[in-house]
Symmetry: C2
Subunit: 355 residues, 2 copies
């Protein structure tokens, strides 16, 4: 049976990314060695890094003065590396959900941290808007898309201080004004790659200002200066970045990714709003186009498990809401298809007709 992958991450990737990666694992560029066993310092791998960096810069229109680096450890590791590198006196954080809160917590180890705005009081079901941003912050940290709750800042914020964006779950899904940011980082296992690599876009002249001695690997300068080759980088995950970036470019770039995301989200939210069994969980204006969260309406609560089973029988994978929230979550990253979304919508319609 055909599967429709709505996993929140690691998540659906374009089929050609998967097939090309498997092919290169069997024989990398026809050299008679596997992608798994080539040296990261070989003449065969350097072009992978170079083209990946070039494509990321091209696709997101990264201005000069920024570096793109690849790290291991996941975005969670960046929660401590970001303040270690950029917190001089005071940093601001938006508390918009689980991951935002985790980022904020780690920053407190490095200096003064201000919670500039929070939607915790609303159960994170909406986003803060129209808040004041203190002008003396070193940076304002935002989680642009909140994977668990399904809220998303779909535009770059206006801010009197530089932004730092955790874009783990919506990078490459829309054009971004990179010049507003000191750093954009993303655990790449949603829109960019298999799990195992973190992508950072770092403004070079903001590095080296923090008043603390950093371990070599924690200091972003190490990786900028060595072109992500200070130590052995995650070779195969980086290769999957390259393949995915090639796919994004071939499919029209981030402008087209945005159009597709909007279209998918419209179809799915329209059905959620129309169908008597379901309701969206998030304030309409803050709805994520990446993670579409919904629950059964109160009078149909007992149908949650039956609908999950019904959809699973039709090939839906990963539609269970995050364990801290419940209900359903259909993650629609760049690789998600209209076919997948329509299959889910049809399942919702058919299930409704039965009840």
């Amino acid at each position: 049976m055909k599967k429709y992958n709505f996993n929140a991450g690691p998540s659906m990737l374009p089929r050609e990314v998967i097939e090309n990666t498997a092919k290169q694992i069997l024989d990398f560029n026809g050299i008679g060695l596997s992608l798994m066993e080539i040296s990261h310092r070989s003449k065969d791998f350097q072009p992978v890094i170079d083209e990946s960096v070039a494509l990321i810069k091209e696709l997101l229109d990264v201005p000069s003065g920024y570096s793109v680096i690849f790290l291991g450890g996941g975005a969670s590791l960046e929660f401590m590396q970001i303040p270690a590198n950029f917190l001089i006196k005071k940093a601001g954080y938006l508390n918009t959900g689980t991951w935002a809160k985790k980022a904020l917590k780690e920053a407190k180890l490095f200096g003064e941290v201000v919670e500039v705005a929070s939607s915790a009081g609303d159960g994170y079901m909406k986003l803060p808007h129209n808040f004041d941003i203190p002008k003396d912050l070193d940076y304002l940290h935002i989680t642009s898309n909140n994977t668990i709750y399904g809220t998303e800042y779909r535009k770059d914020l206006d801010s009197p201080v530089p932004l730092i964006g955790d874009m783990s779950s919506d990078i490459m899904s829309r054009p971004v004004d990179v010049s507003k940011y000191t750093c954009i980082y993303a655990g790449a296992q949603k829109n960019m790659a298999m799990a195992g690599v973190t992508v950072l876009i770092v403004k070079d002249d903001m590095l080296g200002k923090a008043p603390r001695e950093l371990p070599t690997m924690v200091d972003y300068r190490t990786h900028v200066e060595k072109g992500s080759m200070f130590n052995t980088p995650p070779v195969v995950p980086i290769y999957s970045v390259l393949e995915t970036m090639r796919w994004v470019k071939a499919h029209g770039g981030v402008k087209e990714m945005e159009r597709r995301a909007d279209e998918r989200a419209r179809i799915l939210y329209d059905e959620i709003d129309r169908n008597k069994l379901f309701r969206g969980t998030v304030a309409t204006e803050d709805r994520s186009v990446m993670n579409i969260c919904f629950v059964m309406n109160d009078e149909y609560k007992e149908l949650e498990k039956p609908f999950f089973d019904f959809a699973t029988e039709r090939g839906m994978v990963g539609i269970k809401g995050h364990r801290s929230v419940g209900g359903f979550r259909a993650s629609c990253y760049n690789a998600q298809t209209l076919e997948g979304v329509n299959a889910l919508v049809q399942a919702m319609k058919d299930f409704e007709a039965q009840h």
Copy 2:
């Protein structure tokens, strides 16, 4: 042409590990999804972690009271995490080469560090022996195999204090008395996996004693408590650990890996010692069986480039010595074959016959 892979890391892996990984990337366990796009929290992936941990424990005969965890970032990141977690007052380090020195450097950020012994004065071409180990150390850090210089402690040291071993380049190549260690860690891209995952074996009751507040991701307890699932782990690299550990077990375990390593090394060092063109660089008793380093004898210096070309034409890959040392290095990790070693030896013989 058949290639013989002598890369120092990432390096040769068993062909069945490569083929099985490629197959699972195309369709994981026949579920209709790629290994690249399954959730790390799915019922499909948990058994991968569980079996990998179980096999590592079985193969290295890990005593109870130890945990096995998987991290990203590489062994270089552990150079700071090790002292962050285990340095209470004073740590000892053996300075046996480039990586050992890097580990020592990072530890100094966290407390008092003693260089217990060093072979820097010998250009790292031998290993320190018969040194005194202060009894008041929290731990003694050793780099069991020095990838760049080709020296190796082939037995666990006797020590009055617990050991911490960077075994990045010789883990799984011999039985180890794990009970002597507080922690064994390894960037897994030599004997255990593709690049992108670090394996740690940690003694549970040594955690949480260091007198400092640790960032969540730096604290090993985070990963022990969450079974390497605090955040998204490197799914595909971990899968390649599983495949490689299955291969090691099927091929007789670490005892047999040791026998094979000794056999390969004997054949290659015998030729180096016999052949008039070459000489080994390392003191005989300290020679690594993983990284076999040699240079042209002084009177044949000008033949270095010609021999490199000669061997390359016969399919040898990765035999250039590390850029900081020069000469040649044939890395013979677990997956290296007698066929590969014999091909290199034959090239050395044939080249000698021409000169």
